[in-house]
C-alpha cells in the first residue's frame, strides 16, 4: 500500500511509513494466533497425556474433544475473579496483564518463513530473551501480591530457577551466534541452509531444549507450581480469566521456546517440497510435542537437584561447548 496517496493518514501515521500495514496485520494475526494456539496446545497436551497413560483424553466436545479447550475458555471467562482480602490489589491485577506481554511481543521477530515475519530486527534473539524475562517478573509479582505462603514460595522458586537456567540458555545460544555471526533471526536461519546447526551443535541444542523447558516452568522443572507441595504455586489465588492468562502465557512460551529452537538449531523454514511456513510450524509443533512428551515421562525434580543440575552440569557443559566452538571457528 502506497502511503503517500493518503495525505491525512500520512500526517497522522507518517512516522510509521509503509510499515503501518505490516504492523497492523501482523499484530492482528499475532493476537488471533496466541489464544488459539494455546487452546490447541492445551488440547494436544491433554491428548498426549491421555494416550501415554492408555486413556483417550478429552472425547466429548467436538470430534475427539478438539473444542474442549475453547469451551473451557468460555467457562473461565464467565467465572468470578476473586481478589484475596489482604492481597496487594494493584500488583495482583497487573501480574496477569504483564505475563502476556512476552507472549505477544516475542512473536514479532519470529521468522515463520522468509516473508512471514512481522518485523525484522538486528537483535531479534536479544529481544526475545529480554522480553521473556518479563514473565519471570510477573510470576514474582503475582506470587508476592497474593499474600499466600504457597504463592510466595512458588514465586521465589521461579526467580531462583530462571536465574539458574538463563545462563546455560544464553551460553548455548551464544555458540550458535558465534557460528552464524549474527543476532538476526533470518540470518541465523539462512546460515543453516545446507546443514542444520543441530548437526554441529547437538549438545547446545539439547541444553537449549532443557533450559527452555525450565524457563517455561514445565515438568520436570515445574517446582513453581508443584501441585503436591504448593497447591498450584504462584497462581493459587488466581481465578477465572486471570488464571487463564497465566496458562496462555505458559503455553505460548512453550511455542516460542520451540520456535527459537527451530530457528537456532533445526534449520528454520528450510525443508523440501513444501513452503517455508509449513516446515517451520511443523518443526515447532514437533518440538512442542517433545516438551509435552518429556512432561508426561519424568517425575518432578527436588529443588536441590534442580539447582545442582543447572550449576554443576548444564553451565560447565555449555561453557565447554562454547569454548570448543570458539576454538574450532578460529582454527578453521
Amino acid at each position: 500500500m502506497n502511503m503517500t496517496q493518503l495525505p491525512i493518514i500520512k500526517d497522522v501515521y507518517g512516522f510509521l511509513g509503509p510499515d503501518l500495514m505490516a504492523c497492523v496485520t501482523g499484530l492482528l494475526l499475532i493476537l488471533m494466533f496466541v489464544p488459539l494456539n494455546s487452546a490447541f496446545l492445551v488440547w494436544v497436551e491433554r491428548k498426549v497425556a491421555g494416550h501415554i497413560q492408555l486413556r483417550p483424553g478429552p472425547m466429548e466436545v467436538g470430534p475427539h474433544g478438539i473444542l474442549q479447550s475453547l469451551i473451557d475458555a468460555v467457562k473461565l471467562m464467565c467465572k468470578e475473579m476473586i481478589t484475596p482480602d489482604l492481597a496487594d490489589k494493584y500488583l495482583f491485577w497487573i501480574a496477569p496483564c504483564t505475563v502476556v506481554i512476552p507472549a505477544i511481543v516475542c512473536f514479532v521477530v519470529i521468522p515463520f518463513s522468509p516473508i512471514m515475519q512481522v518485523r525484522e530486527l538486528n537483535v531479534g534473539i536479544l529481544l526475545i530473551f529480554a522480553f521473556s524475562s518479563i514473565s519471570g517478573l510477573s510470576i514474582l509479582m503475582g506470587g508476592w501480591a497474593s499474600n499466600n505462603k504457597y504463592s510466595l514460595i512458588g514465586a521465589v522458586r521461579a526467580v531462583a530457577q530462571s536465574i539458574a537456567y538463563e545462563i546455560p540458555l544464553l551460553l548455548s545460544t551464544m555458540s550458535v551466534i558465534i557460528m552464524s555471526n549474527s543476532l538476526k533471526m533470518s540470518e541465523i536461519v539462512a546460515a543453516q541452509s545446507p546443514v542444520w546447526n543441530f548437526v554441529w551443535q547437538p549438545v547446545a541444542a539439547i541444553i537449549f531444549i532443557i533450559c527452555t523447558t525450565a524457563e517455561t516452568n514445565r515438568a520436570p522443572f515445574d517446582l513453581v507450581e508443584a501441585e503436591s507441595e504448593l497447591v498450584s504455586g504462584f497462581h493459587t489465588e488466581y481465578t477465572g480469566m486471570r488464571d487463564a492468562l497465566f496458562f496462555m502465557a505458559e503455553y505460548t512460551a512453550m511455542f516460542i521456546g520451540s520456535s527459537m529452537a527451530v530457528v537456532l538449531f533445526f534449520g528454520g523454514w528450510y525443508g523440501p517440497f513444501f513452503s517455508g511456513i509449513f516446515w517451520f510450524v511443523l518443526k515447532a509443533y514437533l518440538l512442542v510435542f517433545v516438551t509435552v512428551w518429556i512432561r508426561w515421562t519424568f517425575p518432578r525434580l527436588r529443588f536441590d537437584q534442580l539447582m545442582n543440575f543447572a550449576w554443576k552440569v548444564l553451565i560447565p557443559i555449555s561453557l565447554l561447548n562454547l569454548l570448543v566452538t570458539a576454538i574450532v571457528i578460529k582454527v578453521l
Binding site: G50, L54, I294
Partner: protein, 152 residues
C-alpha cells in the same frame, strides 16, 4: 549429590543419567501408540467377569426349563438383612411346593452370598448386572421369578 565426588563419577553420572532418560522416553513413546483401555461407558458396555457379584438371580435349568426353587425359605431365614421374601405354591394337595414369587430388596442387600451358599436346590447365583442405580427405593425391589420369565 555427594560432595566427595570425583571427576570420573561426575562424567559417569551424566552419561548414565542421559541413558536412563532416553530409556524412559522410549517407554512413554511406546505407550503412546498402544491401544487405549478406556471403555466409553454409556456408549460401550464393559463385559463383566463371571465372578462378578451382582444381586442374586435364579438359575434357569435345562431339565424343566425353569428354576428348582422349592420355597423352603432357608434363604429368607439366613439372610442377615432380611432382604428376601419367598412365596411358594402347590397345585394340589400332596404335591411338591415350588417357588412362585421371590422378592429381594436390593437396596438393603449386603451381597454376603449366604443365600447362595445355603440354598439346598442350588438354584441361586450371582447375576452379572452392574447398572444398579435407581431413581426410587422401590426400583431396588425385584422379583427374581419374573426376571427369570423375562429371560426365558
Amino acid at each position: 549429590m555427594n560432595t566427595s565426588y570425583g571427576f570420573k563419577e561426575y562424567v559417569k553420572d551424566i552419561f548414565t543419567g542421559s541413558k536412563s532418560l532416553v530409556i524412559g522416553m522410549g517407554v512413554t513413546l511406546k505407550r503412546l501408540f498402544q491401544p487405549i483401555v478406556t471403555v466409553q461407558y454409556p456408549r460401550q458396555k464393559p463385559i463383566m467377569t463371571p465372578h462378578f457379584r451382582g444381586h442374586i438371580e435364579a438359575i434357569l435349568f435345562d431339565d424343566n426349563k425353569s428354576h428348582h426353587c422349592v420355597a423352603c425359605g432357608l434363604c429368607a431365614r439366613t439372610c442377615p438383612s432380611h432382604v428376601i421374601k419367598v412365596q411358594g405354591e402347590k397345585t394340589k394337595a400332596g404335591d411338591k411346593k415350588y417357588g412362585k414369587k421371590y422378592f429381594i430388596d436390593f437396596t438393603k442387600c449386603s451381597l454376603c452370598g449366604l443365600c447362595v451358599d445355603v440354598c439346598p436346590e442350588k438354584t441361586l447365583k450371582f447375576s452379572n448386572e452392574y447398572e444398579l442405580a435407581f431413581f426410587s427405593r422401590w426400583d431396588g425391589v425385584m422379583d427374581l421369578m419374573q426376571r427369570l420369565e423375562e429371560r426365558k
